[in-house]
Each structure stands twice: as structure tokens, then as C-alpha cells.
């Protein structure tokens, strides 16, 4: 199954092969989860969105048109769900009384479980750097953020990004240029070091 192309696996999944769909999840669960995580900045919400993305894909897999890549179709669903979530959190912001001030509980567990012998100061620097990058990325407008995430982390072509975002290739290029300039200004301190 692992040697088959996405299209072949999708065809099997359409025929009702659950193993085929499981293979598709093996391939795309992590990219979708990280896409949602970078966009929403919350692990729990990213997990919810990922689950919803695959549920929708599972239910509507017969509607998949083989014109585009399967990954593009999945990212399109993920983008729509993330934007809905962002709109919802903007309208109804929620605050958890159990949540630590910075980072999630899992982040804290991950720090404890880290078996690498890294000095606390370098760990702190790494964390600070991560926070700065996350904040810089978070400060970008939604469309620029999506374009950056798809281009930088998912290695997608301009055409694929334009299809996911529903805009022209030139619009994607301009979004990325503006995002790069904004990021350069925000991260100039770290870049010039």
C-alpha cells in the first residue's frame, strides 16, 4: 500500500477500503495537524480541526474530483475549517482557567521528557526563539500566514497554494512577498545577530 500513489489509494478508499483511507491518514495527518497548529496556535484546536478534516474527507471521498491532488483537496478543507475556527474564536474568545500562562501542558511534559543533554540556558534561548517566530508569524494577516505556512512548511508550489486559497498565482506571490518583508522587519533582531 505504501508504494501506491495517492490517486490509486483514493480509488481504493472510494471502493470502501478502510485500510486505504488509513494509509492516506498516515501520509497527511501530520502535515494537516501542523498546518492547523501553526495557523491556530493551539494543539487542542489543531487536533480537533485535523479530525474534522479527515471525517469530512472520509464522508465525501466519492465527491473528490481527480483533477487536483488529494493533498490540495485536504488542505483546502483544512484551510476552510481553520478560518471558521479563527472567526469563531474572534467572536467568542474563551479562556481556560487550567491553562498555563505560556505553552500548553503537553509542551511542559515534552520539556521534562527531553532526554537530550541540553543546557537550560540554550533550552531557554530555543524556546524564546520559537516564541518570537510564532508571534511574528501570528501577527501576519490570515491570508499571508496561510501562504507562508503552505510555502515554507509544506513546500507547495505557487499553483497549489493558489488553488487551496482560491486566488491567482500572482496574488499568492504578492502575498508571500509582503509576508517576507513583514517577517524580516519583525525578526530583524535575530537575523542580524
Amino acid at each position: 500500500m505504501t508504494q501506491l500513489s495517492d490517486i490509486q489509494i483514493v480509488k481504493k478508499a472510494i471502493d470502501g477500503d478502510k485500510g486505504a483511507f488509513n494509509e492516506l491518514m498516515n501520509r497527511y495527518e501530520k502535515p494537516i495537524l501542523n498546518f492547523a497548529y501553526r495557523l491556530l496556535s493551539s494543539r487542542t484546536e489543531a487536533e480537533d480541526v485535523t479530525q474534522e478534516v479527515f471525517l469530512r474527507a472520509y464522508k465525501n471521498i466519492e465527491k473528490f474530483e481527480f483533477r487536483a491532488k488529494f493533498s490540495t483537496w485536504l488542505f483546502k478543507i483544512a484551510r476552510n475549517l481553520c478560518l471558521n475556527k479563527l472567526r469563531h474564536t474572534f467572536r467568542f474568545p474563551t479562556f481556560s482557567i487550567n491553562k498555563p500562562l505560556k505553552g500548553s501542558e503537553r509542551d511542559f511534559q515534552m520539556q521534562i521528557e527531553d532526554k537530550k543533554q541540553v543546557s537550560p540556558s540554550s533550552n531557554l534561548l530555543k524556546k524564546e526563539m520559537q516564541d518570537t517566530v510564532r508571534n511574528a508569524l501570528g501577527s501576519l494577516p490570515k491570508t499571508q500566514k496561510i501562504a507562508v505556512i503552505l510555502r515554507r512548511y509544506e513546500d507547495m508550489s505557487y499553483e497549489e497554494i493558489s488553488e487551496i486559497m482560491g486566488c491567482s498565482v500572482s496574488a499568492v506571490k504578492s502575498l508571500l512577498n509582503r509576508a517576507k518583508q513583514a517577517l524580516k522587519n519583525k525578526l530583524s533582531y535575530y537575523v542580524q545577530k
Binding site: 478502510k18 495537524l33 485535523t50 472520509y58 517577517l183 525578526l187
Partner: protein
Amino acid sequence: MMNCSKDKLVSKTWDLLDKLKTIEPSKEARTEFWKKTASEELDKYSNIFSWHRFLFRWTRWTPVMAAAMLLVFSLFYKDYLPTSQDKEIVKNIEMLENLEIFENLDLLTNLPVVNEESVEIQ
């Protein structure tokens, strides 16, 4: 020269985005997903057979029963309802009654005249 350094800064910034950590999907997420799909499939099948529930819910039958009762009563009382012939008879009776009144009315209006005549005769 300026442009070259600017490009370098942009590409360095681009590289800096690598510092953002990636997360791994949890193992429970997959089992949770398959559980959810199984339960949704069950719901789908239960929806197909939900007409049974619809059929046997007595409140759904209330309007049907009311209509049926109305039909039975109307059939039963059909014989007691006035037909066009009955209406004709009633109309005729009314006309006869009116005729009598008219006759009496004639007599009443003519009464003084009749009286006068009777006096003159005397």
C-alpha cells in the same frame, strides 16, 4: 549591493521559520477517528429506519384520526341532512303560510269598508 544584502536578510528570515517546532499526532487521535466514523455510520443506518419511529408515534396519527372521524360522522348524518327536495317542500310551506297572511291582511284592510257596507245595508 543594497538589494543583495536585503535579499540575504529575507532569506535568513525565511530560514529562521525553521525554528518553529513541529508536533506529532497523538496515537489516540486515530482510534478516536475510527470510533467516530463507526458511530456516524450507525447513525446513518438508524436514520434510514427512523420512519418506523415516525410511523408508531401516536401524536403523528392525531390529524389522520380526526379526518377519519369527520368522514364517518358525515356519512352517518348524511341521511339527516336536508336534500334539495326537502328544501323545496319547506319553501312551498313557507309560501302557503305567507299566502294565508296575505289573505288575512286583505281581510283586515278591507274590514272598514266591509263594516261600512254592512252599515249602509242596515
